[in-house]
């Protein structure tokens, strides 16, 4: 049975970006949020360190301005960020944070009662607003709770399978989404005036990641399968300090509060790689440094495959007050008491800088670019936000604490834009056969009685990505990975599930997720192969230098059935800061 629903606005994903937009729209229109998990389980809740915004509450490193924040972000991005977007971001960030505080976020406080701020990598001022080391949790719960107050409707444990697209005046236009209810495996068609994709990133294509099990890039997959582009996918961020060996995130806040990395000789090795910023250099720099130390034999442990993060010198009380969760993670998962001994860490896949490209002004999803590198076609009323989107704020490397601010600043912007246009939109009937394709797809997977297991394929994908497409890349390895992905895509056609139940069929969901993962992994590797330079998080051993002449451009990857993905380039907007050499 197929169910129909109408809501003015459909938001896919109940993390920070999605709920922020919902809260903006809810007072004037009927909003529904569809999420794969119950809203407070969204991965935004796992963000730890804080949200960057110029509040000037902590002046220990000097007075802060939005221009400085903008500069840090642009420099951090290795000049690949669109500077008009960064400028908007840096100017709006304080407002967005203050708004969150007014809605009840329990930020940590300065002695005089203002929001407490701490240091973070790549930021030259003390500008990270935080709620101990569970800032994401504090912000997400605040937004979810406010959205309950405003009567936002939630469809928890619904898996969105596809977008309903149509064409209008040379552009695409979105009419709704097709989803299925995980609890009953019934199909639901959602019709709406506008749709926002806030589906988050997809770190689960890697073997070791700080990302949630549910973080499988379903938005990326959905867009890419539709023949729409994904932008800058070659830049997955590796967080330098994942808890060894699980990859659980140890926030940069640890280094922000005075912690530092040491190798097997006890050296504070970041002094060599970034003489000025030391341990607070951006993540790509630190991750590369750790890998270099390990490759040169200065790793610790029996396998010499990780380094240590020392924090005990700041004192037990400070740790317990500012980093209580970190203390607990280290204690629970490795038995290390970080008030006494250093924490074993290694880089872990953490964030996708790339994603669904959006338009500079409207925030709508970009469908194509012309030969001049400018946007030529958009999907009207389809928005993207948060990690799923690539507004191109983060460029080639994101600064820590910018992503949480990103979600609320751009979630808010999408909300505001939706509010502006909603009244002008007329609803058109959906095509007759809507949902049939998805129904068939589910049936096909459930009815297949033999073939390959979902988990087998996924593990092979994760292994391949981790081996070949991690911090350091070469042409050879990337080609190997792309071939493997092609092979896996073929084998996916024969995938089967043991669980035939129509009640909470987790295996069916994993099968659908895997399809998405295999799709955007292809975009990621193809983009990485295309970019023959080293920039930000993308380090090609065979092309170690930055090449502004050819590659100061965004990469757009389009799916082509049965062929290599089509790569196009989109212009980077440079307004205030022309590219310079990047030193820390």
């Amino acid at each position: 049975m197929i169910h129909f629903h109408y809501h003015d606005v459909i938001i896919v994903g109940a993390g920070l970006a999605g709920t922020r937009a919902a809260v903006e729209v809810a007072p004037v229109a009927d909003v529904a949020v569809i999420s794969k998990v119950f809203p407070t389980r969204s991965h935004s809740t796992a963000a730890q360190g804080g949200a960057a915004a110029v509040l000037n509450n902590n002046l220990k490193r000097g007075v802060d301005t939005w221009l400085l924040h903008m500069f840090d972000t642009v420099k951090g991005s290795d000049y690949l960020a669109d500077q008009n977007i960064v400028e908007y971001f840096a100017k709006e960030a304080p407002k967005a944070i203050i708004e969150m505080e007014h809605w009840g976020t329990p930020f940590s406080r300065m002695p005089d009662g203002r929001i407490s701020q701490r240091d973070f990598g790549g930021h030259q001022r003390t500008r990270i607003a935080h709620a101990a080391d569970r800032t994401g949790h504090a912000l997400l719960h605040t937004l979810f709770e406010q959205s309950i107050r405003l009567g936002v409707k939630y469809y928890p444990e619904f898996f969105v399978m596809d977008l309903i697209l149509d064409e209008e005046e040379g552009d695409y236009v979105v009419r709704g989404v097709v989803a299925y209810d995980i609890r009953t495996t019934e199909l639901h068609i959602f019709q709406s005036k506008a749709v926002m994709l806030a589906t988050g990133g997809g770190g689960r294509i890697y073997k070791i990641t700080s990302n949630a099990h549910e973080y499988t890039g379903d938005g990326f997959g959905m867009i890419y399968r539709k023949g729409l582009p994904l932008q800058d996918m070659e830049f997955p961020q590796f967080h330098p300090t994942g808890l060894y060996p699980l990859g659980i995130l140890i926030t940069e806040g640890v280094r922000g509060e005075g912690g530092y990395l040491i190798n097997s000789k006890g050296e504070r090795f970041m002094e060599r790689y970034a003489p000025d910023f030391k341990d607070l250099a951006p993540r790509d720099v630190v991750s590369r440094a750790i890998y270099t130390e390990i490759m040169e034999g200065r790793g610790v442990g029996p396998k010499k495959d990780h380094v240590l993060l020392k924090i005990d010198h700041i004192g037990k009380d400070a740790i317990m007050e500012k980093l209580p969760e970190i203390w607990k993670f280290a204690k629970t998962y490795t038995g290390v008491d970080c008030t006494k001994e250093p924490i074993p860490v290694m880089p872990t896949m953490h964030y996708m800088m790339g994603g669904i490209p959006t338009h500079h002004e409207t925030g709508e999803v970009v469908a194509d670019v012309g030969p001049d590198g400018e946007v030529s076609k958009v999907v009207k009323r389809l928005y993207a936000g948060g990690e799923a989107a690539c507004e191109s704020l983060h460029g080639a490397n994101r600064l820590g604490a910018n992503s949480m601010t990103d979600t609320i600043v751009f979630g808010r912007r999408v909300g505001k834009h939706m509010v502006e246009i909603l009244d002008t939109i007329k609803i058109k009937d959906l095509p007759e056969d809507v949902g049939k394709e998805q129904e068939e797809k589910i049936k096909a997977i459930l009815s297949r009685n033999s073939g390959e297991k979902v988990s087998k394929l996924r593990e092979e994908l994760q292994e391949t990505m981790w081996e070949n497409v991690s911090v350091f890349r070469t042409e050879e390895k990337l080609i190997k990975a792309l071939d493997k992905i092609k092979e896996l895509q073929e084998r996916y056609k024969n995938v089967y599930v043991e669980d035939k139940s129509t009640t909470f069929n987790m295996e069916l969901k994993e099968a659908l997720e895997l399809e998405n993962m295999l799709n955007y992994a292809e975009a990621l590797v193809a983009s990485a192969l295309f970019r023959k330079e080293s920039r930000g998080a993308h380090s090609r051993v065979d092309y170690p230098n930055r090449d502004d002449e050819h590659f100061l451009k965004h990469t757009l990857a389009f799916k082509q059935e049965g062929k290599e993905p089509l790569i196009k380039q989109r212009n980077v907007v440079i307004t205030r800061f022309p590219p310079q050499e990047r030193r820390y």
Partner: protein, 234 residues
Amino acid sequence: MKATFKIFRYDPDKDKKPYYKEYTLDVEPNTVLLDVLNDIKWHYDGTLTFRRSCAHAICGSCGMTINGKNRLACQTLIKDLDTSKPIKIEPLKSYPVIKDLVVDMNKFYEKMFKVKPYLVNDNPPPGREFLQTPEEQKLIDEAYSCIWCGCCTSSCPSFWADDDYLGPAALLKAYRFIFDTRDTLTEERLRIVNDADGVWRCHVIFNCVEACPKEINITEYISRLKLKVVTSKL
């Protein structure tokens, strides 16, 4: 090392009654139980169903009753369990079961919503943040870190007997707003918890505190609520 896991199974599509199924496999003492469940699901029995997401005790998805105690699978290490006999894994007590280890938590969420879990301050906001001293913030510092996993409410004997009881999680949520210096809805919130199904159902049994994966001293906050109610003029 070998360990046996005795897991509660129930699929409404084919089972009339729930049953337990045992899985014996090799595990490392330092593995978390969630990884063992994943291992079983991915390599031995694809039909095993449970909720999980973040894998580091912050999303609150994988609450289950493990050896008779509610906890998060992703925070339970094998070495902390007695492997000499089968490790019993059940869905959270007292909630209706959807399938295997997945429970229907709608009633739990309803109660969370009942206490109006959102800051209300309709005064015109200042041009900057509301001021709140670190001491004032400390009042709610522990209470706001609740992850809605439902372990506490499911472990509470008062809740077993009476599922109309708001339960520890909802009362903790009420505390978090009543004691937030920025909130202005204090009186109404106190009225909500001052109900036959509210704070007075708490008999300081401390099962919630034992179950809470974030180690929040929930009973303490409920006691503070009780005192606040009897000392306020309602």
